[in-house]
């Protein structure tokens, strides 16, 4: 579904990604792991078109989308739940969700189905985003992404700053999304959750791919070694 080939991304003179390559097939879930500053969010933003790469290509459903702006990628079926939720604070929850529907390319996720899938978002629909709790914000942020009718969903640090009980609810949603056939790319600090929820894992270390594997084939020690850049048990 999406293929990233030898991607370099710079912030001015600073290079954040070095020749990153990965591929994700339709209906699968990929965990993107790595320490703070490894380049995970940069990669997701590059996949959304928020950062144009200095080298490399991004192909989505067979088409080269490397140079496309974010709104074109959303129209083609890519959506992102950004780190920190980043709702529009002066808008109500429902207004936030409707902003996500601005480039709706698919009738797959009408508002009624979104509320059915995310009841928490429905209960706070008339409240301003700035007044929502962390879990409510996460539900609305996921709802906003679904409103565009995505076929590929990029989830950035979806458990960050949430209470353990709320994290469990968020991963219930992730499981529901998987059952609905969505393709997911999940950035997650919690390795166990990421490995448990995904089919594949890619580990970034200082902007480079340190590990690519199916989660079933990689031991936790392998991933931890790639995560921290230490010698793995099988190296």
């Amino acid at each position: 579904m999406i293929e990233v080939d030898a991607l370099d991304v710079h912030y001015g003179d600073f290079q954040a990604l070095f020749g990153v390559s990965l591929s994700l097939a339709r209906g699968r879930a990929l965990a993107l792991a790595g320490a703070n500053g490894a380049g995970k969010t940069t990669l997701l933003r590059a996949l959304m078109g928020a950062h144009l790469p200095s080298a490399g290509t991004v192909r989505y459903e067979g088409a080269d989308v490397t140079a496309l702006p974010p709104h074109d990628r959303v129209r083609r079926g890519i959506a992102m739940v950004p780190e920190g939720r980043r709702l529009f604070p002066s808008l109500t929850a429902e207004e936030n969700i409707k902003v996500g529907a601005v480039r709706a390319a698919s009738p797959d996720w009408p508002l009624a189905r979104i509320y059915d899938f995310l009841p928490l978002a429905a209960t706070v629909r008339d409240r301003r985003a700035s007044a929502l709790s962390g879990g409510e914000r996460q539900a609305v942020a996921i709802a906003r992404a679904l409103a565009s009718g995505p076929r590929l969903l990029l989830l950035d640090e979806i458990s960050l700053g949430l209470a353990p009980g709320v994290v469990e609810q968020v991963y219930e949603v992730v499981r529901g999304l998987r059952e609905s056939g969505a393709t997911l790319l999940i950035v997650e600090q919690d390795l166990d959750r990421a490995l448990g929820a995904c089919d594949d894992v890619v580990c970034l270390l200082e902007g480079r791919v340190a590990l690519t594997s199916e989660t079933a084939a990689a031991s936790r020690e392998d991933v931890v070694a790639a995560y921290f850049g230490t010698e793995g048990p099988h190296s």
Binding site: M48, A79, R86, F88, P89, L91, G100, S130, A145, S148
Partner: protein
Amino acid sequence: MNWVGAVVQGVLVGGWYALAACGLSLTFGIMRLVNIAHGDLAVCGAYLTLVLSSALGLPVGYTLPLVLPIAFAIGVALHLLLFGRALRGGPLAPVLVTFGLSVMIENLLVAGLSADPRSLDAGRLALAGVRVTAFGSVITLSWLRIAGFLTALAVLGGLHLLLARTSFGRLVRATSDDLDTARLVGVRVRPVFATVAGIAVATAALAGVFLGMTATFDPYAGGLSLIFAFEAVVIGGLGSLWGTLLGGVTIGLVQQLAAQWDVQYTVLAVHLLFFAVLAVRPQGFFPASEPEAA
């Protein structure tokens, strides 16, 4: 004029200041663009009305259906050609670019239409007034001033409804809250900003038409208009439309009340009020809510 009359006139004049300032408030509040050329664009609206009115032989009011769409189109074009690029060039670039635009507009107007003071013929409305009695005082109110105030209320109310009740307004508010996230979720920011710039220039042009009907104007009149508009925006609260109305009315009131004391202090009184507000409440009376981490 008595004190009661000064208060009423101040409120009515304040409506014009609010009308002149609301475009500035929009572009700053939504696009974070400080448009130094805003006053000059208002004066352009007055000149455009003058030219069209003369060329077509129409009363001023009948040219508005032409003037406002042209002004809107100019605003859209300015964003696509200048403002959008300037906004990508860091915080100083928009100030420098719009300052350059201001200088260019003034010189083009002088070269094309001379520096002679002009005015717009408001017809019978120019001298028509209504006498009212309030608190034992008889006040004569100009219908033109009343029309200006009601127009300002209608424009601000319309803009409020546009922003609060429409899908376009929702996109504008989202973009104003968090530009980066708006892009990430698929909002096409460029057309949103271009439309906002178009609306801002159209409201400036409308303010210019009322300026031309109530006073004389020349190519350099935009500078003073900009100062008062800027002060109205700051006093009312940056980025807040209703705050801008309050700021405009406050300026009008201070001006008229100072005139009761001594006419030569009207402008000074407004500037002193501006400095006082900056010192005591720099965010203005009704600032737009600051974006927060959500």
